[in-house]
């Protein structure tokens, strides 16, 4: 029951935070657009007044794109060098806004005003960034150890048995998936604790995250599994729509833009739901936290 109570509470809190979500959505759109629009402009110049863009109506056509020659080289060089910067900026901005999002889904606060949202974002920025860094390192290392090592060793054999390889890959994959869920729980509990704590501290928060995850494993883990399944299904659905929809008119492209941005908004909403549910679960389990 605790699970559904937390999920319900998380959903209410997430919906209540629509303004904060709108800010995240808008900033991310601005950031990515600033990155993509120059590339679009180079492409437009490259195609000039050619009719060849008709061959792109049904999707990417490498024959056509390769003929952009120096324009394509410019686009690729711009995208590849800019991608790292974009990712870094994205991570920094997300770390910044996650503080506000966690604050707004905290039951301790009422509906968060925009200035309060930014204040909370700024206050927890370095803690959240540090937390992201440590959790990502743990995720990458465990992936290498749990999947890379055994699968790599087996495939190095002269004639690896397909059954053994398959079984090992499945077991390693499932194990890794379980660890991913645990690390996500750890990160979310730690962040929820940071928001609630009077004296936030990064490593103390991580310790709380691990402690809370394993202490309440029976309720926390299934709740996170449920949330992540829903988010995964949604992401798959959204990426399918975005990937397969090929509007061929100006109006169609505009509609595509609106729908795709709505989908992204829902994606942030679902993430906030996760934050809210974990925060609620923590508050249910530890009424005196903070």
């Amino acid at each position: 029951m605790k699970i559904f109570k937390s999920l319900g509470s998380g959903a209410r809190l997430a919906l209540r935070s629509w303004k904060a979500i709108l800010i995240v959505w808008f900033v991310m759109l601005l950031l990515v657009s600033l990155f993509v629009l120059p590339a679009k402009s180079i492409m437009r110049t490259g195609f000039g007044s050619s009719t060849i863009t008709e061959l792109l109506r049904s999707g990417i056509n490498v024959d056509v794109l390769s003929d952009l020659e120096r324009y394509l080289a410019s686009i690729l060089s711009y995208l590849s060098s800019g991608l790292f910067l974009l990712l870094m900026l994205g991570i920094l901005l997300y770390s910044l806004f996650a503080g506000g999002l966690f604050k707004s889904v905290s039951n301790l606060s009422q509906v968060l005003s925009v200035p309060c949202y930014f204040r909370a974002s700024a206050k927890y920025f370095w803690y959240f960034l540090g937390l992201w860094f440590f959790v990502i390192i743990m995720i990458l290392l465990s992936g290498l150890l749990i999947i890379g090592l055994p699968v790599g060793l087996i495939s190095q054999a002269e004639n690896p048995s397909p059954d053994v390889l398959q079984v090992v890959a499945i077991i390693a994959g499932l194990l890794y998936l379980g660890l991913l869920i645990i690390f996500t729980l750890v990160a979310d509990y730690a962040r929820a604790w940071l928001i609630a704590a009077e004296k936030p501290a990064l490593f103390k928060a991580m310790g709380f995250g691990f402690n809370e995850t394993f202490k309440r494993f029976g309720s926390s883990f299934p709740m996170m599994v449920l949330i992540l399944i829903i988010i995964l299904i949604f992401s798959w659905m959204a990426s399918t729509i975005i990937g397969l929809w090929k509007p061929t008119t100006g109006g169609g492209v505009f509609l595509f833009f609106i729908i795709s941005q709505m989908l992204f908004f829902v994606k942030i909403l679902l993430k906030t739901w996760r934050y809210g549910s974990v925060t609620s679960m923590m508050e249910l389990n530890n009424p005196m936290t903070g």
Binding site: V32, T51, L56, S66, D67, E69, L86, V135, S235, S260
Partner: protein
């Protein structure tokens, strides 16, 4: 007639085991050479050793004082071999690393010891450290019609780093493993001025040139090894403790290779008269259906459009990861493909390699061109057919990659590789394989040829192109055609079907594409719609000859340019506001061309080569111009990229 009588004579006098079984009732080739080999594979020492009896028939009209043999395994002897120098790689420092072939004895039919009469020569580069071509002075010159018999005892050590041939652990791919005759070319053959041996050294960028031969091969190896070869299994017998002897026979093929590995799973299938065997690691059982489908499609397409596959057997191998260096090679009735244990269905890489390598059964196997000297006839023609087959069966626009987000045709890959190469003009296609400047061999021999063969097909039409190849097959299968022979076939077939539509011959095409280094690039540099002051009675000066309509007050002028050196006839399609479309043919000779149109109103767009048939054109974008460019796909791509990046960043940020 002369050439047919001699092999028949040879067939009678050659020792019995050589022709003890017959696969084809009528020989497919002149069978100028033949081999009977009996060897043992030593899996510990990584050697193949045994005896060989072989013959070569002097089909020329002059006496020949020597014979020349390929000793290709010596290419892997040291880093000073021509292969070592060209690749810049050493065979390795361990004793087990190098590969070599050692002749322990070499006798003629009379029992004369030929060892003192032999010496290694380097006809291509005079490299004294290369021992891949052996010259043996005959005790008595071979007179016209004579058959030279040799009997050899040899040992071949396989190299540890598989580059087409070698071993890795228990995996063996055995190619270039026995002393093999070069090709004696009488004057006139392949347009050569004087008779002589054509026996090149082993180079990094070349493969084979050999006579169609008969092979009787016995291989003794441990019982637990699975053996695959280009021959038909005649017999398998016990050869003592844990050993077996496999007897094989192959007819009318240009090379004999084999592989042995305990881990092979064997699968069989049949296409019409052809029994197909596939060897691959058990872990790749999922690829079996894909591989058989690919090879059967290739058989069907090439049989229909080029000529029949005459052998009743075909074996192909998908080597395990440890033997990946053996992948993607051809030995006519045996070839190697490549794949992985898990290969996405949308990525048609195994199909592409299988179709390509099988295609060599035609282009080099049957139509036995000299790949050293004219690699375009082998790799280029074969890549053209590979692209046609792949795109025909797996999707015109998605032959190579058929993902819902990305589709790539095989023919696109060739065009991009050629058109985007900075080296596309540094050399022509008419070069010996080892003379190509660094990094250009693949692009030139495979891709440029594919592109200009597609262009030729765009000019003369698909059915005419097929007829060209059918005629090429009819005239040259199981012979040694040269490039000029192919051009002659093109001229003959095009004249037969199209008369003088393209001129007295098609040499103008080959001079520019095969022998030339120019690029092809046509451009629409602009068009104007000029409003006329008053209605006049001017006649149209275009081929359309349409009378001027009352409401058409515009003179439309199209400006065309030829930016490249290559001059090809192209279609120009002009579209007007009122829906009229006027096709014109431009011979493409002038650097600049204006077309003027009256009587159709305002022009909306113009396209050079609207069907994109001239695939040699290195830039399709400048082939057209419109007053209303379609920006929708660009906006859509930008929007997709925005959404994709948003979701990607969101996923990374916990």
């Amino acid at each position: 007639m002369f050439r047919k009588v001699i092999p028949f004579f040879a067939l009678i006098i050659v020792p019995v085991p050589l022709f003890s079984q017959v696969i084809n009732k009528v020989p497919l080739s002149p069978r100028t050479t033949g081999y009977s080999i009996d060897v043992k594979l030593d899996t510990a020492a990584k050697t193949v050793s045994g005896t060989m009896e072989a013959f070569w028939v002097n089909n020329s009209r002059e006496s020949v004082p020597d014979i020349r043999l390929h000793m290709y395994m010596n290419a892997f002897k040291s880093r000073n071999s021509t292969l070592g120098k060209e690749s810049g790689r050493s065979p390795g420092v361990k004793e087990s690393d190098p590969g070599w072939i050692d002749l322990k004895s070499l006798d003629d039919k009379q029992g004369n010891n030929l060892i003192p009469l032999m010496k290694y020569i380097s006809p291509d580069d005079e490299n004294p450290s290369d021992s891949t071509v052996l010259q043996v002075i005959l005790p008595k010159p071979a007179k016209p019609g004579d058959t030279v018999f040799i009997s050899a005892e040899f040992e071949t050590k396989l190299p540890s780093r598989i580059r087409r041939t070698g071993f890795s652990g228990e995996y063996f791919f055995v190619a270039q493993w026995f002393p093999k005759f070069g090709v004696y070319e009488p004057a006139g053959m392949r347009y050569r001025a004087e008779s002589g041996w054509n026996c090149h050294q082993f180079h990094i960028t070349s493969e084979f040139y050999a006579n169609h031969s008969v092979y009787d091969v016995k291989i003794t190896l441990p019982k637990r090894y699975v053996l695959g070869s280009g021959g038909m299994l005649i017999k398998e017998s016990d050869a003592g403790t844990n050993l077996k002897t496999v007897t094989l026979r192959a007819e009318d093929i240009v090379d004999f290779a084999w592989t042995a590995w305990p881990g092979y799973a064997v699968h069989t299938d049949k296409w019409e008269h052809v029994n197909i065997t596939l060897l691959l690691p058990e872990a790749r059982n999922r690829q079996v259906e894909r591989q058989f489908t690919a090879v059967k499609n290739a058989l069907e397409y090439l049989t229909e459009n080029v000529g029949p596959y005459p052998w009743p057997h075909l074996t192909f191998v998908d080597p395990p990861t440890i033997g990946a260096g053996a992948g993607g090679m051809e030995y006519t009735t045996l070839f190697t493909s490549t794949s992985a244990d898990r290969m996405p269905e949308w990525l048609h890489l195994p199909e592409m390699v299988t179709v390509h390598e099988f295609g060599h059964a035609y282009f080099m196997g049957m139509l036995a061109t000299n790949e050293f000297e004219e690699p375009w006839m082998d790799e280029g023609m074969n890549s053209f057919w590979e692209a046609r087959i792949i795109d025909h069966y797996w999707g015109e626009n998605s032959g190579l990659i058929d993902n819902r987000h990305l589709q790539v045709a095989d023919k696109s890959y060739s065009r991009i590789s050629y058109a985007r190469s900075p080296n596309r003009q540094v050399v022509s296609n008419n070069e010996f394989s080892w003379n190509y400047p660094s990094g250009t061999y693949g692009m030139m021999s495979y891709n440029k040829v594919t592109v200009w063969l597609y262009t030729l097909m765009g000019i003369i039409g698909e059915e005419t192109m097929n007829e060209v190849f059918r005629e090429y097959y009819r005239q040259w299968a199981f012979k040694h055609p040269a490039g000029k022979d192919f051009i002659n076939v093109v001229n003959e077939v095009v004249a037969r079907i199209h008369g003088d539509k393209f001129g007295p011959d098609m040499n103008w095409f080959f001079e520019q594409t095969l022998y030339g280094t120019g690029i092809c690039d046509y451009k629409v540099s602009g068009f104007d719609n000029i409003r006329l002051k008053s209605e006049g009675n001017k006649d149209s000066d275009t081929l359309s000859g349409e009378p001027m309509s009352k409401d058409s007050l515009y003179k439309a002028v199209v400006k065309l340019q030829r930016l490249g050196e290559v001059m090809l006839p192209v279609e120009v399609l002009v579209h007007f506001e009122n829906g009229d479309e006027i096709p014109e043919i431009w011979d493409g000779r002038d650097r600049y061309k204006e077309l003027t149109f009256f009587g159709h109103g305002k022009m909306e767009w113009v396209k050079i080569d609207p069907e994109y048939r001239i695939r040699m054109d290195i830039n399709f974008i400048n082939n057209s111009m419109t007053n209303d460019p379609d920006r929708v796909p660009i906006r859509r791509m930008a929007n997709k990229l925005i959404s994709l990046m948003q979701f990607y960043i969101s996923a990374l940020t916990l």
